[in-house]
């Protein structure tokens, strides 16, 4: 299972910061996550970037066990 990491507004929308989710592509993992956390999370996800193991990833990018799938909403650092 992938390690899902939900950052900033994504963790607030989901109610958790980290989770374990099945799926062998980014889109499969995120479809299960959206079903689990509901509409508020899906709305944040729609404007977010996704990284796998720290690298920007596409919807079809493969995900293996123990991979980290991170959801990064638009940033506001500095």
């Amino acid at each position: 299972m992938a390690r899902l990491v939900l950052l900033g507004p994504a963790h607030e929308a989901a109610g958790v910061r980290e989770d374990l989710v099945e799926g062998d592509t980014v889109e499969a993992v995120l479809a299960l996550a959206s079903a689990r956390y509901g509409e508020a999370f899906a709305a944040v996800l729609a404007t977010s970037q996704v990284w796998v193991n720290g690298e920007p990833a596409a919807a079809t990018s493969p995900v293996a066990d123990y991979d980290e799938v991170a959801v990064l909403p638009p940033v506001s650092g500095g």
């Binding site: 950052l7 900033g8 940033v75 650092g77 500095g78």
Partner: protein, 154 residues
Amino acid sequence: MTAESSPTWVAVTPESLALDPLVAWATRPGCGAVVTFSGTVRDHSADHDAVSALEYETSEPHALARLGEVAEEARRRWPDVAAVALHHRVGRVELGEPTVLVVVAAPHRAEAFEAGRYCIDALKRSVPMWKREHFPGGSAWSSATEPIVPVEST
């Protein structure tokens, strides 16, 4: 390389930030110019007339990696730059306190100013960092956001 001789020093920290130690670290014998930028907590924002504090959240390993890439990119674009420090607070930061420090040392002032400006602009767009604004009666995520981009496209 020791921290003293490395050209890059990045940090993500819940502790107060101070410039003088970073400037002393950055200053090398061949350097005549050090430029710094401090982002500080303002008393207002686009959404709120009275802001009392900011609260930053990040993924520390990802933030450190991106801060390091920004520093490297600055030294690639301005090869004379001798040292770059990028330190960002996490957690709660009170009004008037610094939230982020950029320190750039170079032989001459032109490249120190240009690289300093580049670093803060690139940091804001490429480092995973999210801020909540605290105001009388509550708090909310800042709406002053932009999609995170790779350092190469900053």
